[in-house]
Symmetry: C2
Subunit: 204 residues, 2 copies
């Protein structure tokens, strides 16, 4: 009777603090979730375990995984590929466990295409949220600074519109509280629980 | 820059404990919300204040309110009419305040038609949630009892499907926690906040 787990996708602009927020969720055991183990072509560092820290594969195997549609998303940083294998994620969700992916906005967009039922959380920089305050006090900043910030904000808002939630990372504690509430609420959303109720009453 | 408030509609089957849950939210100040004052044709009781406890009106005035579309929903209990005037609700929402309506499922359906952006929370009886346990232990109950419960559950599930959230009222404390999470999450949902961000970057 377990409902399927939630695929939680935590993303946002570079430097917004996604990693810090995720670490706080882990450290304070805010809610339980499973880790998705990434696939990479880089060599293991001392102490790293294959299948636990990463799936360490050759570039040939990685490209095969891309071509076979085995990856939810992938990216190349410096000389190496990094990607999220879809099979273990689906297995964890089917077992009723939530899975948290902390990825960049390009990765999140790809995941959205493949897993539209995911819960997409956009972490926003506090200065986007407080931009209106600056606009109301223009005299304290040059026109160039203001215009640059507006252009940047417009880009961020264009990305945000494809997400389900926008959480301001003003303090890590506040961001974590909002994410916890989102997870709790999504677990009782009708679209996620009604199939189980329906299955229940068909058992006659 | 304030976002519009949330219209929170708390409903569910008769006897599920809507009033108790609402009272616990009020008593423990779980989150702030405004009250919607109902309109009624019944006479004020000693101490009741017009415009605070109810808007006390004549039946003629009430029917006029119905015909003019001034009510979000209304109902007749025994000999008197009770309804929710729409104007004060919209005013409170526009001011950025959340409004909580605790109403029966017929009222909720009418509100849904008029205020589709509302947050509709269906309080479910714990025995609906635990019905599957009973079904798995059929020997302990007669076939008639089981079948009657299944028919009732089917009706409840048909109603539930038009709601956003289904909260099990197993304990009042649990139900209140879920409702708090729903309110927190809805306040950071992209569909509710993005217009404000957009307005912000148009101010150049």
């Amino acid at each position: 009777m377990a409902n399927k787990g939630l695929l939680l996708v935590l993303s946002g602009p570079s430097g917004v603090g996604k990693g810090t927020v995720k670490s706080a969720i882990v450290k304070n055991k805010v809610f339980p979730f499973e880790y998705s183990v990434s696939m990479t072509t880089r060599k293991p560092r001392p102490g790293e375990v294959n299948g636990k820290d990463y799936y360490f594969v050759t570039e040939k195997r990685f490209k095969e995984a891309i071509n076979q549609g085995e990856l939810l998303e992938y990216n190349r940083y410096v000389k190496h590929y990094y990607g999220t294998p879809v099979a273990p994620v689906k297995k964890m969700l089917d077992a009723g466990n939530d899975v948290l992916l902390e990825i960049d906005v390009n990765g999140a967009r790809k995941v959205r295409g493949k897993m539209p039922d995911g819960v997409f959380i956009f972490l926003t920089p506090p200065d986007l949220h407080t931009l209106h305050l600056r606009l109301e006090h223009r005299r304290t900043e040059s026109e160039d600074v203001i215009m640059g910030r507006i252009r940047q904000a417009r880009k961020e808002i264009l990305v945000m519109q494809d997400y389900d939630y926008a959480v301001v990372n003003d303090t890590v504690a506040n961001a974590v509280d909002h994410i916890k509430a989102i997870v709790d609420a999504e677990h009782v959303s009708v679209k996620r629980v009604i199939d189980n109720y329906r299955k229940m009453v068909r058992e006659d």
